[in-house]
Every structure is written in C-alpha cells, then in structure tokens.
Amino acid sequence: MVQDSLLSDELLQHLMAVGQVDVLVGVPTLNNATTVGGVVRAAHQAFGRYFPRDRTVLINSDGGSEDGTPAVVRDCAVDDQDTFTVSHTLRTVHRITTPYHGVAGKGNALRQILAAADLTQARAVVVLDADVSSVTPEWVAALIRPLREQQFDYVTPIYPRHPLDGPLVTQMIRPLIDAVYGWRIREPLAGEFGCSQRFVTHCLEQDVWLGPLARYGIDLWVTGTAFAGGFRCCQTPLGPRRSAGHTGLSFQELFQQVVGAAFECLEEHAAFWVPRAAAEPLPMVGELPAAGEDAPAVDAGRLTQAFCTDIEQLQPVLRSILSADTLDSLNALAHQDCERLRYPDDLWVSTVYEFLVAHHRGVMRRDHITQALIPLYLGRTGSFLTQWADRSPAEVDAALESLGLQFERSKPWLVERWGEGQR
C-alpha cells in the first residue's frame, strides 16, 4: 500500500466508507470556484444517466484554493431536472473534496486522485479539468465507454475547433509528439482523459511525481507515458472546450512550461521513441468532429515583425543552438519583407528538432533554450496565420497534415543527432 502515505487519514476514512468503485471521476482544482460547479454537476449527471448501477465516486483534490472552491464542490446541488426525469443513480452518490499536500501543481493533485483510484480499485477513472465551463455528462460517458466496452487503457479527447485555433498545439506540440512518439494524436495537451486501473497503477509506479514535470507538464507526461508504456490508447470526440483561462500565466511563462514539458517528456521516453520507425493514427472511437467555424482573429503582422526584430538581437544565443545552415536561412527570412514572411515547413521542423537536440545536449540552461525559441515560434505562427487565414478549415487542415508529415520525414535526422548526444 504505497499510496497510503499520499492519502491523509481523513481521506482514507472517506475512501474506506466508499469501498470499491466502478467509476471514479477526479477533479484537480486551484481557484476554480466559477467553473468547478458545472464540472461537478456534469459528473454526477453522468453517474445518474449513464452509470446508474455502478458504484461511483467524485474526488476533488484541491491545491489550497482561496476562492472557496472546495465549498463550491461540497455544496454543489445536483438537482438537475433532466437527471431525475431521465434516470438517476441506484447507489449512494459519493463526493469527496480533499486538500493535497506537498509541492503545488496539478501533478500532486493527480497523484492523489490516482492513489485514491488505486485504493478503491476503480475500474475506470476519468480526470476532468475544473477550468472548463463546457463539460457535459456526455464527456464523462465518452471517456469511460472505450475503457469498459473495448478494453482501452487510455482515452484522450478530441475537441471540435478551427484548425487555426491553438497554434502552439497545431504548429509545434502536436506534430512533434505525433512524429516522435509515432502516434498521431489530436490533443496531446488535453486536461481531460480516461484510463484503466492498470494504467493508474503504472503511473503511480513512475518516478515523476516530485520533479518539475509534475508541477507544469503532467498532462503531456500522462499521454507520453501511455504511449511509452505500450498501453492501448484511443481518442474520442467530446464537445467544444471552453476554458475560463484561469492559468494566470503570461504567454512567455505558458510557452516555457508547455515546450519545456514536451522536451522533458521526450527526454524521459527516449528509450521508447528512438527505435520506433513510423507513425500511425491513434484509434478513434466515434466520429471525428467537424472543425469549428470561428477562426481566431489575430494580428499576424505583429508576430512576424517581432520575429524579424528579435532574431537579430538573439544571434549570439542562437549560434549556440542552431546549425549554421538553419541560422543562415532564418537570417535570410528576417531580412525579407516581414509583413509577408513565409517560414517554410522544412525550416520550421529543422528549427524545432535542433532546439530539441540542444536541450538534450544541455548546451546551455534548458529554460534559456526554450526562451530562445519564443521569437521563432511567433514568426512561424504569424507566417502560417498570414498564409492560411482566408482559407477553408479543410485547406488549413491539409496544410497542418503536411507539416506533420514533414516532422515525420525528418525524424531519422533527429534520431541520428540524438545518438550523437549520447556518445
């Protein structure tokens, strides 16, 4: 019972009162009072509508909210009329809210939820992001069904959204993760997921919970661990995801956390992805949702302008990270008309892979490496948005697919350089 020490005496008493469960929904929180009520209601409605005969529990692990989040979770009424008219659970509704101790961050909250799932021998576990205001009972059901009906171990969501939305995901994290891990996943950074008891046990055995990944990169780590551990993974469509955006982070901090976590995950799972040859689509349970219609309104010209100015300033740092060819190409780009900047796919792929290799070799402090990538990412994003803003979602999707394939084609180069770093 390794997890005993992770769970307070009070939580243990609650869990013993609950006993074994079939479905456990975990909600990590930190100052989410405005949105967490909707998430809790959606989970309980899902218990009533879709799992009325199952033993269920909702566990909220809170990181010390100062806005009354635990009270909202405790007092949240599930008197949704729809629930009672359609069906309601035949078993006691269990809801536990508990603080987690130790290092602040979602990782610690998730660890506590997984430890509780392990103790209660939950057959299916769903983790929901408390910051999302559009969670519905169908999300919970969609994340659980592939686990129970098709024996998948890890279920990751797909949200319908415009392909120009979320450029950090579409331009960098998704194609990088897809190409390197060899599984084409739509939302590698999703805050929601479903998983089996087997996967829960595996995660708890990993040595990640006290490190930096647990503080700021646990969502990506969970995905990478599912791939690297050889678990049966799939993706399933959910509805549109509307986040309240309560991270409180500036763009620079967000970028550093996300990209730093991606690079750290690739470092940790290198033994899995280095020998893996080709990428294949992750199995889909359900229909791929249509792309959202609303393209984000962005002043792409300012992004490309920032690229042209900043790349000149960062020359001494970039020289330590990039090859001479790549840096020359970037300098040539920066000297063209910045309003009409075209940052080609192959150059962007070389840039990202060379930054990853520099991170692996530790040519300088790792946070400095991710910071130096920011202006280049802005240039690439501005260039892509300028080029594709007026096109249809299908055309943009095709362009993103082409970028993904470019990442996959260049993977042998990455593997070769990665090996050189080991010698």
């Binding site: 763009f251 984000p296 962005v298 960062l314 300088m364 202006p375």
Partner: protein, 233 residues
Amino acid sequence: MAQMIANAVREAGTNFVESLVAFLPNAITTLSIIVVGWLIAMLLRAVVRFALRSLRFNALAERQGLAALLKVADLPEADALLATIVFWLVWLGFFFSGIDVLGFTSLQGLVAGFAAFVPRLLVALVILVVGFIAANFAWRATLLASVNAHIPSPRLLSGAVRWLILILAGAMALEQIAVARTIVLTAFAIAFGALMLGIAIAFGIGGGGIARRILEHQFPEREGSGADEISHL
C-alpha cells in the same frame, strides 16, 4: 713579496675550492629539486588533463561560454589551460624550494612568500571563473528576458550587465592577489565618477536635446508582439 703574493693566491684558491666544495652539494640538491619538481609537475599536468577530459570539462566550459572566450583570447582549451596552471604552480613551488636550499640571504623567504601567494592566486582564479560564469549567465538571461518582454536595446542592456559583473570580478581578483590595490581603487573611482558626471552633464547642462536623440536612437520604442492576445493552446 712574491712569497706573500703566492700565499695569498694559494689561500684564495683554497678558500674558493673549500667554498665550491661546500656549495656543490647544495647546488646539486637545488638542481635535483628543480628537475624532480619539473618531472612531478609534468606528471601532474598529464593527470589533471586526463581527469578533466574524463569529466568532459571542455564541454562544461563550452556550455558556460568559457571556451568561446579562450578562443577569442587565443588561449588553449579549458582543460589544457587548467593543467598548465597546475604545472606552473607546482614547478614554481619546487623551484623556489630549490633556490632556498642554496642559502642566499637575499633570496631567503622566497618559498614562504610563494607559499603565501599561491592560495591568494587560487582564490583569485576561482573568483574570475565564477565571475565569468555569473556574467555569462546574467548576460543570456537578461538578453532573452528583454527580447521576449520587448524592452528596447536588449543586446546593449545585456552586454552592460555582463561587463559590469566581469569588471567587478576582475577587481575582486586583483584585490585578492594584492596587485596594484591603489590603482584599482583609483581607476574604479575615476571610471564611476566619469560615468555619473557624463550622464549628469548629458541630461543637465544644455545637452538635453542631444542626449534625448542619442537615447532615442539607442533605445527605440519597440512594439509588443501581441502574443498575449492569442489563445495558444
């Protein structure tokens, strides 16, 4: 008379031979110490270099930017440089010990002086290395932070931070080995005073317009990238 001269010459010759006989063992000992010291110093240089290579010290120096500086200064690689410093310290130690054996009054105390100087020299070297690493770190951190925050003239700002730390470390190192304390202190006072006076004159007496134009040129307004206005995830 001739007899007296012959006696004096014989006596001088005898004295010279006696002195030579008395001096020779010391000279041979000195020579032995210097030669053995040289051999030991050579051996230590090889050992230090091998150990540093095993520890990939050059890669560390490259990461900290030390390798680039050594290259610019036309100095050997970091591991070779450190091994050479060890060689000279050890060999000079033996050399001064050997000289001390000769018993020359004017050279006495050399060993004691050298022994007192070596720790100060080592501390000064450590200060220089730490100062260099700190300066490089602060330079890069300032450059990256100011570029991403769109602060005007990031390279000028980060370069100023780097040189400030390097000068401070250099002054501390010189202070440690007690070289030209007065000159260092005076140079600092003059340089700092001149800088402050220059700024005061530029902003104060009549040169406000020129100072403004120079500053506007050096620190142009930089528009933000608008990155915070996008939902990146």
